[in-house]
């Protein structure tokens, strides 16, 4: 079941071929290694550009987003796989 989280998180990223590739994120003091980035999409929220990453990690599904106006990462949704 997908839960709406919407909490600020820390994300470790790599820059590959001029693109951002999230490698892991830390939420509630737990580190989640990202197995696969399934989809990246963009949106505009009140004029600011956001990048959304749909990820797989340890059998779960997560959606994280980067707010380019405030340079913040958010965990938006989580589906822990149980």
């Amino acid at each position: 079941m997908i839960e709406q989280v919407n909490q600020c998180i820390d994300v470790l990223v790599a820059f590959v071929n001029r693109r951002v590739l999230p490698l892991s994120f830390t939420w509630n003091k737990k580190k989640y290694a990202i197995d696969k980035v399934n989809l990246i999409h963009e949106s505009r929220q009140n004029g600011a550009k956001w990048y959304h990453f749909s990820l797989s990690s340890g059998g779960g599904f997560y959606k994280i987003a980067f707010d380019t106006e405030h340079n913040l990462w958010f965990l938006q949704e989580a589906d822990f796989g149980y």
Binding site: L39, E42, K63
Partner: protein
């Protein structure tokens, strides 16, 4: 054999649902539908291939879909996802085909005339399919129909779904035409199909035998010409360029109410916001409408349409709302209302023509500035006073949604 034109129709399979499955692998292989929250009164916007196999179709109500599949998974629509992927599709296609037409968010017509024959066209279609998988993700597939015109290319793409390539050429044209139902053709909607049915025409072959003069009498010159050519597998070959701005014919918004109501204040507040959304869009595209419609759908799905000449309103949502309010106040509702909608139609570009009256020019200038601010900081940050008491709505796939 030399061909005049080769047109391909590319259709993303179950687009919205497959995008959701691409984003979340846990949904893959499952029957899912893209729709409003389960239990809400919204209809199914899209269904996955697995759900389609169970008979779940776009437009179905939640309980109808649930009856067909008790384990059905509901996913809320995410327009930004579909929009981003649509732009990625267009960018990828542009690398392979210089001339193409965007037909909808998940459908394109491609000019394959650079191919000398159908086998070259099939190879090009295979390359494009591979590229799309690479760019969009492995779960997203598309079907491609290839023919000498748009009508048959579109029909062909429906014949080999999902993930297929289908060619309509001289060798199979007659077989396909004789087995296709008239409503399978793009351009034959429920109303035309019913009128054809009333004339005893229920197949392409019967349509071909029907006298052209009688078609002309029933459907007028444009409709008769379209049907005459359809019966022979002929259709338009010209593509509207994806890079040319196509002027919309209408701008509309509708909303299914949270519950059926007879309270006019309830649905007038929703109508006020829909009207404002429509006029903002018209101002953005610099269009004016010759006709303005408001429609009510009753609980039994029958309805009532009210119309006004658009010229009397210009760009002003407030004027429209007060005209609508006045009409609705004097109208006796025969049944409970389920859905309300607004549509501006017969749109014409306004260009740089300004109003002769200074008061109108000032108002338009003010409204345009307000629109700019709202685009930057969010819908209805600044709004006209007549919207003050309305519940805030946000943009949503297929319409609008009240804020939770």
């Amino acid at each position: 054999m030399s061909l005049n034109k080769i047109v391909a129709h590319l259709d993303m399979d179950s687009f919205f649902a497959t995008v959701e499955q691409q984003a979340n692998p846990r949904l893959r292989g499952k029957a899912i539908v893209v729709s409003g929250k389960e239990g809400s009164r919204s209809v199914i916007v899209a269904s996955s291939k697995e759900a389609k196999k169970l008979g779940i179709k776009t437009g179905m109500l939640h309980f109808e879909a649930r009856k067909l599949c008790p384990d059905l998974c509901f996913v809320e629509p995410d327009g930004d996802k579909y929009n981003t992927l649509h732009h990625r599709i267009v960018e990828s296609i542009a690398r392979y085909v210089p001339n193409f037409e965007v037909f909808s968010i998940d459908e394109l017509f491609l000019d394959f005339s650079a191919c000398r024959n159908f086998s070259e066209a099939i190879n090009l279609a295979k390359k494009i399919k591979l590229e799309l998988k690479k760019v969009l993700g492995s779960w997203l597939t598309c079907s491609v129909g290839i023919a000498e015109n748009k009508l048959m290319a579109k029909l062909a793409s429906d014949l080999k779904k999902p993930d297929g390539i289908m060619v309509v050429d001289e060798s199979n044209l007659e077989t396909i035409l004789s087995s296709a139902k008239l409503k399978d053709f793009c351009g034959v909607g429920c109303s035309i199909n019913a009128r054809l049915d009333a004339l005893g025409i229920d197949s392409v072959l019967k349509l071909r035998e029907y006298p052209q003069s009688a078609l002309l009498k029933e459907f007028g010159p444009v409709g008769a010409d379209f049907l005459f050519h359809l019966a022979r597998g002929q259709g338009q070959v010209e593509l509207a360029s994806a890079f040319e701005k196509v002027q919309p014919q209408s701008v509309g918004r509708s909303y299914t109410l949270a519950k059926n109501t007879s309270d006019k204040v309830d649905f007038l507040s929703v109508l006020a916001q829909l009207i404002e959304q429509v006029v903002v869009e018209m101002r953005r595209q610099k269009l004016s409408a010759k006709r303005f419609l408001v429609y009510l759908r009753y609980a039994d799905f029958s309805g009532k349409v009210f119309s006004w000449p658009g010229s009397s309103f210009g760009f002003d949502g407030e004027k429209i709302f007060f005209a609508v309010q006045n009409t609705i106040d004097n109208f006796v509702l025969p049944k409970m209302v389920r859905l309300v909608g607004v549509r501006a139609e017969n749109l014409i570009p306004v260009g740089n023509q300004q109003s002769l009256w200074e008061k109108d020019r000032k108002k338009l200038s003010l409204l345009t500035k307000i629109d700019e601010i709202n685009r930057r900081y969010g819908d209805f940050v600044i709004k006209p006073a007549y919207l003050l008491k309305t519940t805030k709505m946000r943009r949503h796939v297929g319409g609008f949604k009240l804020y939770d």
